[in-house]
Amino acid sequence: MGVRSQTLSGKPATFDAYYLADFRSLTWFAIRIGASSADEAEDAAQEAMRTVLLHWKEIETPYAYARTAVRCEVYRAKARAARRRDAEMRAAKQDLRQPQYPFEQDVTRVLTMLNALPLTQREVFALAMDGFEPSEIAGITGQNTATVRSNLRHARRKLMRLMQRSTTEATGREANDGP
């Protein structure tokens, strides 16, 4: 399931090599943990990369470091968006919260399912999808390893239920649409 798993704990020879290898995956990670658009995710990844570049010499595990930084960026952007949305809702009295992604059906389905998880489960699952081990996820999120394992187990179980439900609903719709 992970993007890769052998190099996650290593460090590429140069920052540029690391950037070219990880920028897209980091953007996809930002989307999975809740960035409200692909643009917002890309900006969060770029800001995280700036932090990585500034600290490149002392960073030992850039893949994990960048994900820690991108979490901060995404949550900062979400807080800003929430404040802006509140102001807009007060003005327009309508909900403008629909995320906007340029993705195909499987991706939007997965994002909808991930969105239904509590934040801590969503985060650890997104990191596991990138190939991080529970001990590495614990280092990034500040939870202990046993809690990470428990969150992963619960997240996976809930995602299985959600997937089954959405499949059943889609099948029901097709049956109702029939002749």
Binding site: M1, F23, R24, I31, M129
Partner: protein, 57 residues
């Protein structure tokens, strides 16, 4: 038990398809080399600006 195992496999396959599809979309959408140049240019400008300020003071 078998049912859970089937669901588990289906979920893994769905997540893999979604990741591949998302990364393909992002690949077409993002010019990573340009973004890297932008980042380096921004930092160079910041550094030059800081050095200029330091020389003035």
């Amino acid at each position: 038990m078998d049912h859970d195992r089937t669901l588990d496999v289906e979920l893994t396959q769905l997540l893999e398809r979604a990741s591949m599809s998302a990364l393909t979309t992002l690949d077409a959408r993002i010019d990573v080399a340009r973004r890297l140049r932008d980042l380096r240019d921004d930092l160079e400008q910041e550094t030059a600006s800081r050095n200029g300020d330091a020389e003035k003071s």
